[in-house]
């Protein structure tokens, strides 16, 4: 066995042991980016105990010291084993940024709490009326002695109803041009003056919230980077967000489900696996999945060689999310009328009892609906294509 094969086996062994049936079930019933919260937290604690909660972090901060290939293997095995998704806004997004821009105190206090799950972070960028256009944001932070006083509102803050911390972009100077007067603040969600309103998504579940700030006091020590320099902090983070996801793993899991489900789906006297029309459509998607996979590997190779993925991250985001949506369509093509029932309660891993509909049908439709958001959040498909046109094609 190569080293990587040995590594893969060690991951499989760990998963085989640590993933209880309950946790697996939470993974199976995950129809969006997020798993049911209590399962996600339980899984975070297990990964933390194992030292594997932050695969991308350097060892000095608590990372496992894996190379890029090992991280990919770990991600893949977790996904295929139906491990729940951990709430990763802290570890995946804020963490690396704090390592770079944070003060020593910030690092020492926040990083360990991020890993252990003591702090659950959410991201406060978008505002009503300013989705992809961060420069137009209106939430203000005004210096008042050792504090900032924050007023305004943030929207699409995923998991805010489970989080206790939020990292925010706020306007600290209105006089300068829009992008220049923005700062980056860490805010305790338990501070007085904060209200969190859950937003019901189209699939009937709650993942996102609107967070209101009414004269919220935030210690100046919670500023990250220089005052009015939040834009460059945020930009580095946005790039990280775009480059950080491995879409191939999601896509492979979707394909695996579709294949196995097609074999079980009656179609005339045979099954859908024997329907040439469906198979042709599926094959076209599989070929695009291969193209995506090898594009991700190409980028990974370039990053390993010290390069910056740059606008290729935009390419992967567009292709990964749009292909995911095509696969959602193939999934509901398999389900047909069985996709109609909503039965939200049956998607809760703690639910006991019968549901009037096959589980794969329930999850397929919920995913189809939920996943429309994939081409919207984290920079819409339109924004990504504009980035490609400007930065790669120079238009």
């Amino acid at each position: 066995m190569t080293d990587y094969q040995i590594f893969r086996k060690s991951v499989k062994d760990f998963l085989g042991e640590a993933l209880t049936p309950e946790l697996r079930r939470a993974g199976e019933l995950t129809t969006s980016v997020f798993s049911e919260f209590s399962a996600a937290l339980a899984w975070q604690k297990k990964l933390h105990a194992q030292g594997w909660i932050a695969p991308d972090w350097p060892s000095e901060f608590g990372g496992p010291g894996w190379d890029i290939q090992q991280r990919s293997i770990f991600q893949e095995e977790c996904k295929l084993a139906n491990a729940p998704s951990v709430v990763m806004m802290g570890i995946q997004m804020l963490g690396p940024m704090l390592m770079h821009y944070g003060t020593e105190e910030q690092k020492q206090y926040y990083l360990p709490r991020m890993l252990s799950g003591a702090d659950i972070w959410c991201q406060g960028y978008s505002e009503p009326g300013a989705g992809s256009d961060l420069a137009s944001l209106k939430t203000t932070a005004v210096r008042d002695g050792d504090n900032y006083v924050v007023n305004g509102t943030k929207i699409w803050t995923s998991m805010a109803h489970h989080a206790n911390q939020i990292f925010c972009l706020v306007r600290t100077d209105k006089a300068v041009k829009p992008q220049a007067g923005i700062s980056f603040l860490l805010i305790d969600l338990e501070s007085p003056g904060i209200t969190i309103t859950p937003i019901v998504s189209l699939d009937g579940q709650v993942e996102q919230c609107q967070v209101f700030f009414d004269a919220v006091k935030v210690p100046c020590a919670n500023l990250v980077g220089a005052e009015n320099d939040g834009w460059s902090v945020a930009k580095s983070l946005l790039e990280f967000e775009r480059g950080g996801h491995n879409f191939t793993i999601d896509v492979k899991k979707q394909l695996r489900k579709i294949h196995s489900q097609a074999k079980l789906t009656p179609w005339g006297e045979k099954t859908r696996a024997a329907d040439p029309v469906f198979q042709h459509r599926l094959a076209e998607a599989e070929i695009d999945a291969l193209a995506l996979e090898h594009t991700e590997l190409r980028i990974k190779g370039a990053v390993e060689a010290g390069g910056n993925p740059g606008a290729l991250s935009s390419l992967v985001k567009v292709v990964g999310t749009e292909l995911g949506q095509r696969l959602n369509e193939l999934s509901i093509d398999l389900v047909g009328p069985a996709a109609a029932p909503q039965c939200l309660e049956a998607l809760d891993p703690n639910h006991k009892g019968d549901t009037p509909v096959p589980e794969h049908a329930l999850t397929a439709m919920a995913e189809y609906i939920n996943n429309r958001a994939a081409t919207i959040y984290g920079g819409t498909a339109e924004i990504q294509r504009t980035i490609i046109a400007k930065k790669v094609l120079g238009l």
Binding site: S126, G129, D275, I332, P337, A340, P341, M365, T380
Partner: protein, 358 residues
């Protein structure tokens, strides 16, 4: 259009605009009730339950093409009460049924006391068997749309190699259902029947039943297709309105050419579908030779167009459209369900291929 048709359309438009705005529709959905009884009464008071009923049964005797504008409004306003299923679809079969069945069921359909639904096209018919000396009617109807809302289901029966359609009262002993909410704010059900057979429920039999089956599902396709056109129009209107108001980078979204071209394409697809649906309804009403083929084509066109139009609508709205409190995503969900009604979209095209060859 005749004056009568115009009146019908205008009254429907006015009623729905004033009483069926999205927020109140969502309140009704959230209430957990399958049906808003006030709406339902209003529908029959305004004569909508009698639109296609024969004139000799106090109906207006409209053809499908006549009521396409009304059906489109049902799509546009996301009406969740199964009026079309009951009055147009089940009602159509009853109108073609025996004198006795007409007398028994049509008045209830028209006055709204009966709410009928129909099962998927590929449902397994109920069976009639002698068990312990009793004739028992038995079977399961799976995934019946609005099955949780209806008082009756129009059910297929197979017995002695002969087909029948029967009205099954869901409140009687021996008829049970497992109801569930559906993604479009309606209530579906699995219906189980195991009851002592009484031939009073039979609407029609034999070759009449076979003809009724053909007609029922062709009409179901046409009704669903017309509703889809209305939903696409709603998704388009919402997108145009939203992108006009919404500013990004200092410009209204609607001024971005890439979005303009995509909205133009939404319009193109909506109008293409509308033309075909209307033509297919006319062909059906006039019993044209190609009526069945056109019905398949119209439904298939709407399935394909609505998927892309409603997806595009969400994409161009952005985040707001992914919330349950905003209307436009509900067009997408409704169309995601109508795709499989009354049968799978891919099966529809397979049948189109056979028909236009044969």
């Amino acid at each position: 259009m005749t004056d009568e048709q115009n009146m019908l359309r205008d009254s429907a438009e006015r009623y729905l605009r004033e009483n069926y705005e999205f927020a109140s529709r969502q309140n009704a959905v959230d209430s957990g009730k399958a049906l808003d009884i006030e709406h339902w009464r209003a529908f029959s008071d305004m004569g909508w339950t009698a639109m296609t009923a024969p004139e000799n049964a106090d109906g207006f005797g409209f053809g499908l093409a006549d009521i396409v504008p009304v059906i489109e409004l049902f799509g546009y306003y996301l009406v969740r009460e199964p009026l079309l299923e009951s009055a147009v679809l089940a009602g159509g079969v009853i109108a073609a049924g025996s004198e006795a069945a007409r007398a028994l069921y049509l008045p209830g359909i028209i006055d709204g006391s009966i709410i009928a639904t129909i099962p998927q096209r590929d449902s397994t018919p109920l069976t009639l068997q002698a068990i312990d000396g009793e004739d028992r009617l038995q079977g399961d109807l799976q995934f019946v749309p609005s099955g949780g809302t209806a008082s009756h289901v129009l059910a297929p029966i197979q017995h002695d190699h002969e087909n029948h359609w029967a009205m099954i009262d869901l409140s009687q002993q021996g008829a049970s259902r497992v109801a569930y909410k559906t993604h479009d704010g309606r209530h579906g059900a699995h219906i189980t029947v195991d009851l002592l057979y009484d031939d009073g429920c039979i609407v029609l039999s034999g070759t009449d039943a076979d003809a009724a089956t053909q007609a029922l599902y062709a009409r179901a396709m046409l009704v669903a297709a017309a509703e889809g056109v209305g939903a696409m129009q709603g998704a388009l209107d919402s997108t145009v309105e939203y992108t006009r108001q919404r500013e990004q980078f200092g410009q209204s979204l609607s001024s971005f050419q890439a979005l303009q071209h995509r909205m133009a394409e939404m319009l193109i697809q909506t109008e293409l579908a509308r033309s075909l649906v209307l033509a297919a309804c006319r062909a059906w009403d006039t019993q044209a030779d190609n009526a069945s083929t056109l019905a398949l084509a119209a439904k298939a066109k709407v399935d394909a167009a609505a998927r892309s139009v409603t997806q595009e609508a969400i994409q161009m709205h952005g985040g707001i459209a992914t919330t349950n409190e905003y209307k436009v995503g509900h067009y997408f969900k409704r169309m995601a369900l109508l795709e499989s009604w009354p049968q799978h979209r891919d099966a529809l095209i397979a049948e189109f291929i056979q028909r236009r060859q044969g």
